[in-house]
């Protein structure tokens, strides 16, 4: 069990992490989710003991470890870059933490081969890391973290530099591999999809503060704030300020959207609404939808993302299959009224879609 108590980290007068309270349970996959510079890496460095917090306490299994340097703690870390010893064989790379601990050759052989087996790199043990592909190099780093039998395993965007096919593969393997070690497992990522697929418990970070903590699905369905909803949405959340008048949501004076049934109990007034890209349909220009101009389309293989602009706002619609739309095309954006998230003036969630 790793606990952080009102952790704050200042650097040159700038807060990188502020007032973070967090407790991470062993045997679970704890995700730190947030965009670049949200404080993920700073927080991980503090957990590892690479840096000392400006204030606050770090408690590992009931013991205060604030300020205890990393080499006196049992911590394993895997980075975005593939960090291996270039002159050592794959076998020796994996064995290095055991050599430091002066384990017997027999123990080393058994553990290295076991870890290599789990990560599917057993056939490469005699080779050098540079002879392997990026995915295999990252597997070496993961295997090294595994044999170390650390009580705290920190993974800092370990899949970010891999091709998407390899990412897919490792994404499903990682939880399986690390769950059974019983260590406290922390995984930082900037991709909500990855967080959803891997994680049990997700902590959303925004500008060095915790925006929310909870089970992935819960945060996805009921983001407590607009910021959480944005962090938990990929492609980005479509938002617009509206004025609710009964069953109508007005924007830009006379234009309007329809309110969903889950919004009936809400008082009339100004709100900000959020809509995920896959709940925004596209059609030919009609009176009912929002008239918009296609800015560009992106095709991801099985889906098409259409970026469209209206009144200086850019919205994204995610469609199944591959669709050919040209920049400049006039289209109509049709939001699904029952899928709207509604936030008040302070960005707090006041209504979420049902089911």
């Amino acid at each position: 069990m790793l606990e952080l108590k009102s952790i704050t980290k200042y650097e040159r007068g700038q807060a990188h992490v502020e007032g973070v309270n967090l407790s991470l349970a062993p045997g679970k996959l704890n995700i730190l989710l947030g965009p670049t510079l949200s404080g993920k890496t700073t927080l991980m460095r503090l957990m590892a003991g690479l840096d000392k917090p400006t204030s606050g306490e770090i408690i590992m299994d009931g013991q205060v470890v604030t300020g205890v340097p990393v080499r006196k703690r049992n911590v394993a870390m895997v980075y975005q870059q593939f960090v291996n010893y270039p002159s050592l064989s794959v076998y020796e790379n994996i064995a290095s933490p055991l050599r430091v601990r002066r384990a017997t050759n027999r123990e080393i052989k058994q553990k290295v081969e076991g870890a290599a087996e789990i990560l599917g790199i057993k056939e490469f043990l005699r080779r050098r890391p540079s002879e392997l592909s990026g995915g295999q190099q990252q597997r070496i780093a993961l295997a090294r973290a595994l044999v170390k039998e650390a009580s705290l395993v920190l993974l800092d965007e370990p899949l970010a530099n891999l091709d998407y096919k390899l990412r897919e593969e490792l994404r499903t393997e990682l939880p399986r591999i690390f769950k059974r070690t019983g260590a406290v497992f922390v995984y930082a990522t900037s991709e909500p999809t990855e967080a959803m697929l891997i994680g049990d418990s997700v902590t959303c970070l925004h500008e060095g503060r915790i925006a929310s903590t909870g089970m992935a699905r819960r945060l996805y369905d009921h983001p407590n704030t607009l910021v959480t909803a944005q962090i938990m949405s990929d492609p980005p959340l479509n938002t617009i300020r509206i004025k609710k008048k009964g069953a109508v949501l007005e924007f830009d004076g006379d234009r309007h959207l329809h309110a969903g049934t889950h919004m009936e109990a809400l008082a009339d007034g100004p709100y900000e609404i959020g809509l995920r890209a896959h709940h925004l349909n596209i059609g030919a220009p009609t009176n009912d939808g929002i008239e918009a101009i296609v800015a560009t389309t992106e095709v991801t293989g099985s889906e098409t993302m259409v970026h469209a602009e209206f009144l200086g706002t850019r919205w994204v619609s995610l469609l199944h299959g591959v669709h050919a739309l040209n920049a400049g095309d006039k289209i109509s954006l049709n939001p699904d009224p029952n899928k709207l998230f509604v936030f008040d003036g302070n960005g707090a969630l006041v209504a979420a879609p049902v089911g």
Partner: protein, 360 residues
């Protein structure tokens, strides 16, 4: 601007290749029409960069001829071919200003000063680099530098083709999107022949009208993004494009029936297998596997559900075969034993990896 034809091109990095395996690029014939936007897509080591360097003239092919507008230029050097290339890492002239960088290819070709000036000013405007023109190029960010490399290609109006070698590798994820859409717009405006090499499906499918998928030195399919998704010509394409990739399972064919792990499925059409076909496979994308209560549905066991938020991936077991199904957001989560149906339109048969035609 040019039409590009590659005739019987093959390349080996070995001096005297003794076997097929030593060829980084196996014999291929391609023709690319003038003004098209093409992408070469494949995993690392598939030969796509080799092919690109053969077109640019940085590499002389072991065999075959390269034709630009019908003229054989196989033995011509890059500068004579009149092509432009954007590399993985931004290549800029450090000591020059942005203006001088953009003007450099024109100066080398002895274009008059005032002509250079008009062209640079206009291009900088299109690339949104105008405010940096007098700055040293090396002071700019990676994406701006990459735009300068691209600009040095676009500045030459007579350029035959612009080649891109994984140009977004060092660009911040947040900026990739904007650069990608700018590229598309520039292609529409300039109408140059553009060839884009990448291992990223989104980049390839977003940029190109026609995507050339490569694997192990061979072209496995040339098609539009839509076709690659709906009718992968090879199991490799099915697996490589889409996430997760296509389910590919061994099967046998018996008249009108597909036999999958002992279960016969009526496919309602005739399949003519090529003679000597050894490996017969059935391919269906996870998007076209539907949970069903139909009495004809195949019995499967749900092994795991991966929740991606807006969709779920169901990992299914059918006898000793595993497959994935994508369930749209809002569908109830299946568990235990359920039935599945395949979308007939989007189910394909492959023999030795290649798509077999179906007839109703």
């Amino acid at each position: 601007m040019a039409r590009i034809d590659l005739e019987n091109i093959a390349h080996s990095y070995a001096a005297e290749p003794s076997s097929e395996d030593e060829f980084a690029l196996k014999k291929l014939n391609v023709s690319w029409k003038d003004g098209g936007a093409y992408a070469l897509l494949g995993p690392s080591g598939c030969g796509k960069t080799t092919l690109l360097n053969i077109i640019s003239g940085l590499l002389h092919p072991s065999q075959g001829t390269v034709l630009f507008n019908g003229a054989d230029i196989t033995s011509k050097s890059p500068e004579v071919r009149n092509i432009a290339q954007v590399f993985q890492f931004p290549v800029i002239y450090d000591t020059m200003t942005v203006y001088q960088n953009l003007a450099f290819p024109l100066q080398n070709r002895k274009i008059p000063k005032n002509e250079i000036n008009t062209r640079v000013t206009r291009l900088a405007d299109m690339l949104e680099l105008s405010k940096y023109l007098s700055r040293k190029a090396r002071d700019l960010s990676a994406d701006e530098k990459q735009k300068i490399s691209l600009g040095r290609g676009l500045i030459r109006e007579d350029v035959a083709a612009i080649l891109f070698d994984e140009p977004l590798t060092v660009i911040d994820p947040q900026l990739k999107w904007s650069l990608r859409s700018q590229l598309k717009r520039l292609h529409a405006e300039f109408n140059h022949t553009m060839i884009y090499v990448t291992h990223d499906q989104t980049e390839a499918l977003t940029f190109a009208d026609q995507v050339i998928v490569m694997s192990e030195g061979e072209i496995v399919q040339t098609a539009s993004p839509q076709e690659l998704f709906e009718r992968p010509a090879h199991t490799f394409v099915g697996r490589f494009i889409g996430s997760p990739g296509m389910n590919v399972m061994p099967c046998t064919i018996d008249n009108h029936h597909l036999i999958l792990a002992g279960h016969a499925i009526n496919i309602g059409c005739t399949v003519t297998l090529p003679t000597g076909a050894e490996r017969i496979e059935f391919g269906v994308r996870p998007e076209f596997v539907k949970i069903s209560t139909d009495k004809c549905a195949l019995p499967v066991t749900v092994e795991a559900i991966e929740d991606a938020g807006r969709y779920q991936i169901a990992r299914l077991k059918f006898c000793d075969l595993t497959l994935a199904a994508i369930l749209p957001d809002g569908e109830p989560q299946p568990s235990g034993n359920v039935g599945i149906m395949f979308d007939a339109e989007n189910s394909h048969i492959y023999a030795n990896g290649h798509l077999v035609g179906k007839r109703s």
